[in-house]
Symmetry: C2
Subunit: 241 residues, 2 copies
Amino acid sequence: DLLAAIESRFSSTSDAKPLSGCRVIVTSGPTHEPIDPVRYIANRSSGKQGHELAAAAARLGADVTLVSGPVSIAEPAGVRIVRVSTAEEMLAAVKHALPADIAIFAAAVADWRVATPNTSKIKKSTSDAPPALTLAENPDILKTIAQLRKGRPPLVVGFAAETNDVVAHAKKKLKSKGADWIVANDVSSPIGVMGGERNAVHLLTSAGVESWPEMSKTEVAIRIVTRAAAHLATLKRDAAE
Amino acid sequence: DLLAAIESRFSSTSDAKPLSGCRVIVTSGPTHEPIDPVRYIANRSSGKQGHELAAAAARLGADVTLVSGPVSIAEPAGVRIVRVSTAEEMLAAVKHALPADIAIFAAAVADWRVATPNTSKIKKSTSDAPPALTLAENPDILKTIAQLRKGRPPLVVGFAAETNDVVAHAKKKLKSKGADWIVANDVSSPIGVMGGERNAVHLLTSAGVESWPEMSKTEVAIRIVTRAAAHLATLKRDAAE
């Protein structure tokens, strides 16, 4: 079956370096969008899945740039780390890391930022109503890179963290963003995806949807990166023919 | 001078346990106020100063309850830890931990929460404007406990994290909250108070303002807790007379 095939491919190539000579960009963690110097809006994200992806790509021989939002987990060995805070900084860092063969956008980027952050701490006044937060849409990093006319990585992978209608939302995302693959997961799952060690994902490609069983985030990363290496090899072979 | 006096008092009592038999509540870290299952509003706070205060009080013999928001630092030894996420949960945990002889509110509590958090992830739609976030005022934990008619801890200490007019804002806070002491710091200071290891604070009491030199957060904690122990001893002596 499929998983056995992936496993055998991985075990047969784990000593070889199928991504040797390849450049891989991975984003990971949340972004923090400032309200004022002490307050911010954020997404829940430990960065564990993204960091595991970067580590897995490095183990397969890739030259990896990990663009990470604020996280408190250990940095993977053997990768170049660029630390950012906001979505705008993350997009700039990704662009700066191009060109790449594979781009995997696993970060939980805030969709919105506060339009005009206060430069000093907003004071709470007992007489005033709470401040209204006017939000502005953040750049869409996945869409921006997936729709680049020049320098688009040959394989662009997005993540979709959903709490309901997971596959339906992810299918829509695959199409609207122009990504090659979407890795979708149900972050409201009782296995405790957010902050936890395990994940249960669906891989959406042009060929359809594969629903993988629950496994560790390390295993999810190894399987995605191994698949990406195989896909890249196919693309290169097709281009050479 | 003052600091030498404090230091000598500390060194002379560090083997004794001046807070033995005393109950101390410390709050620490930020609160996270949900926007939806994956997004939240937060304050920047590592929890380092609060955790150091709890550790210092425990070393002086106190029975310590540390009510902590989401942090990624190590838990101090010898204290009872109650983990919370939101301001409302933090207030409930503090009330539950009463009675106490000393309450130190070092957490960076979000002043506002989202009035009605979404139960499912808010979808970004390209056609729609960003969602408007209607905020509601959070309970004021310091004020609530400082103004308790029954069961108010004899010593209530608040923290003020400011980015400008630090002492002026803190003086206002001392009065408006009904706290006994306010520990104020300039979180925009170039020493990097937020997330860093060092702090430079002002201690505001009914007697006036003391501006302490920059020191480690551990030292700040030891001095505050040692002062609190001495103050408590004075209160008990006065009450006994």
